[in-house]
Amino acid sequence: MERNSGRDGTKTAPEPVVSAVARLIAVGTAGGRLLEDWAGRTGSDVSGLWLLPPWDTLPVTGSPGLACVQVRGSWKAGWSVAGDPDRARAVAEEEFGRLVDLCRGTEWVVMVAGLGGGAGSGMTPVLARAAHEAGARALGVVVTPFHWEGAVRQRQAQMALEELRGACDGLVCLPNQKFLPLLPPRTPLVEVYQQVNRALVLGLESFWDALTQRGLIPLPWEHLCALLRGRHAESVWVTAEAEGEDRLARVTARFQEHPLLENGQAMLAATSVLVHITAGPDLAAAEADELVRVVQESAPRAEVVVGATLRAGWSGRIRVMLLVTRRGQGRLTGWTGTSETVPRGRGSEPGVPETGGAEMACQPECGEGDERGLAATCGDALKESRHMRRVGRVRYQQGMLPLEVARSGRFEKTPPNIHRGEDLDVPTYLRRGIVLE
């Protein structure tokens, strides 16, 4: 099974072991940029690997703590195939053994990638499988392209996303387009990418904290993955940081207008919300209490999980990350339909980690098997469709349209039925994001 990585294409040896628990691997250009930014921000204490396709030139100036790995395979096709996920996948499959080696010796592999291009879309799913092969679990953090990048990239991103859903243990998907309203309208294009990267890096930092810092209230990894897992699970994260007296108010205000949360609709439909607080030692109990209360109120049906890390130099500062997951299916089954409702009156006690214990126990086996099977079928379907594309029939296929919920048929001409921010005329299953078979 295990092939030795005899082939050399490595500029720097992949020795920087980040932590025994988790390893960060960026895939493709976009992922690498993100990781470079991050390494630049945090200094050299954290580092990761940067996985590159053969047609990309290796960056001349290596960032501290960031090791570049280029997969080469028997690649001879030429530069013109850059941006083709199929080629990237083929190369990655060829070097599967090396990818397995990269993932060895850690429990979790966190993959950061931008979907839509060649390397990110093609290599990330293979890397996820390699991680499984190496006995690690795969957690994907991916961004999808802006609308202006064109329908082809959008479609490639969507297909890769489908594939990743089957291959990863957990998936966080951040649509770039949604960050756009955060920026002033006349922002230059170059700056848009930088700004979005900055927002992402901030999120990644918080997320990494949540994963690695065994802080005040540690988050169990298993629990985190149980939250992120599922075929229809869609997660986004948002971060907000503030300083000063009214830091909490500012943070909650930021969340309320955050485009990724769709004016609170995302929270309403959420099945679980992870709150991770990074703050100085002066974090007041009242603040944590208030924050969790606000979150629970805006996401009444969600299970709220809380983690916190304290940092010595952070007095007066707070950073909060919300990881919002909406799951289409899974726990909603027949007679136990209402068991999904929020346990009423749950406090914001720090004893939250144990809440998921019971359901955790029942999830892993069934989830794993299902998803492996799914990955296979999904892969077949994709091969089919790729074949079609080669023939050139799908070239003019329409890109993804944004999902517009049809407004309530029969009640179209009646006054709207708004109850606590929800339009009750819209079918319940649509509002709660439940996917029907």
Binding site: T341, G409, R410, F411, N417, P427, T428, R432, I434, L436
Partner: protein, 406 residues
């Protein structure tokens, strides 16, 4: 005058049907139903009239049928009103007792009630009912009957049910256009509660949910008085509409599927089952999943119950409901709906039956007709209440004012 006769008529303009009930008030508080007329309602959405002409036709048809059955001529009706604009809230009134030596007089009670009804309503809102909860003399205790008690200050807590004037006037106008007088307007949730609750249940505390075609009207009784009233503009129509969306079938087909195969739960044994839809020649055209149908209904009903529970809990009344929940309206017929309500409310749930009524025909004892029957019950209480004449008179006057403006 007709007012003085013992014949009363209740009219409910519902979203799925219009129902007129003729009853006779007999001595010892017995109510006898003489006739009932109904017609399909086509001009109403979510409890409010959207097509005036159609609604008039339907009202006329229903009233005619009731007249024929009861062999009376209907001239005035008690009209049930509903709609998402109706809401209930608590208010209180304060009055300084005129002569502390004599104690609380009837004048004082009248005055404090008048103060309680003076409230800062948004423009275009009108009071439908003012129900007094309890009195307090000098801020002490919960007094039922303050007459003769001595103190300085008399306070009263009331529950007020209000609706938007223009929307209420629509239904009043529709009734008047078929040459009927409106004697009183009654919140339909209150009417249903009066029909189904026994005196004991009212005392112990009960929640009545009338899930009709377009609205869910609910009312909480505790300690013998109405404590909370409210409307959610969600009903059987929404179930149908959800099915239209989920199964991609026509409105009428969805309605038929809901009636034939609907239930409040997704049982294990129906998983994977499908239903064949046939065209008018009986040829199968496509199949839909029974599980999907049930799940969509389950989610909508569960949500409706949860919303009501949240409202009741926020009003602080959940713990006062000891007799349980009573369901009525067309949706009370959905199989297993009581089990679902039991799960959500964590209280005993039953489907309502009319209380203390001499039925002309047992076939009329259906959950759909309870609002109409409750209107008769309201009329009965309304007419036989000489003690509180002052209060009721004021209310009647207010309503008459409202109706005449309409």
């Amino acid at each position: 005058m007709f007012d003085q006769s013992s014949i009363v008529v209740g009219l409910e303009i519902g979203t799925s049907k219009i129902c007129a009930v003729v009853g006779e008030l007999q001595p010892q508080g017995v109510l006898r139903i003489l006739g009932l007329g109904q017609s399909k309602s086509n001009g109403v959405r979510k409890g409010e009239i959207v097509d005036m002409e159609q609604a008039e036709l339907d009202i006329r048809r229903a009233v005619q049928e009731a007249e024929q059955m009861a062999n009376v001529e209907v001239r005035s009706v008690y009209l049930a009103v509903t709609g998402g604009h109706i809401r209930g809230f608590n208010n209180c009134g304060l009055h300084i007792i005129q002569d502390p030596e004599v104690g609380v007089t009837e004048e004082d009670v009248k005055e404090v009630m008048r103060n309680a009804r003076c409230m800062n309503l948004p423009a275009q809102e009108e009071v439908i009912h003012t129900v007094r909860q309890h009195f307090q003399v000098d801020g002490r205790g919960e007094v039922r009957e303050p007459l003769g008690m001595s103190g300085q200050r008399l306070e009263v807590a009331v529950h007020v049910i209000t609706g938007q004037l223009l929307r209420l006037q629509n239904s009043i106008r529709a009734v008047r256009s078929v040459h009927l007088n409106v004697e009183e307007i009654v919140f339909s949730g209150l009417a249903s509660a009066l029909a189904v609750l026994s005196a004991e249940e009212k005392q112990e505390g009960a929640l009545v949910m009338d899930i009709g075609g377009g609205t869910t009207d609910y009312a909480v009784f505790a300690g013998g008085i109405l404590r909370l009233g409210g409307v959610l503009a969600v009903g059987g129509d929404h179930l149908t509409n959800d099915l239209v969306c989920a199964l991609k079938v026509s409105q009428s087909r969805a309605e038929q599927l809901k009636v034939d195969y609907g239930a409040a739960f997704v049982e294990d044994r129906i998983r994977g089952q499908t239903l064949d839809l046939t065209n008018d020649l009986g040829m199968p055209i496509r199949t839909v999943s029974l599980e999907t149908l049930r799940r969509v209904m389950h989610l909508r009903l569960e949500e409706t119950f949860e919303l009501v529970r949240t409202h009741v809990e926020e009003a602080g009344l959940y713990d006062l409901i000891r007799a349980g929940v009573v369901l009525c309206g067309g949706c009370a017929r959905i199989p297993q709906v009581t089990a679902l309500a039991e799960e959500v409310f964590d209280l005993p749930v039953k489907v309502g039956r009319a209380q203390g009524i001499n039925m002309l025909n047992p076939a009329l004892d259906q959950p759909e007709f309870l609002t109409g029957i409750g209107l008769l019950r309201f009329a009965q209480q309304h007419r036989m209440r000489p003690v509180r004449r002052g209060f009721m008179h004021g209310l009647a006057e207010r309503l008459r004012f409202l109706i005449q403006r309409g």
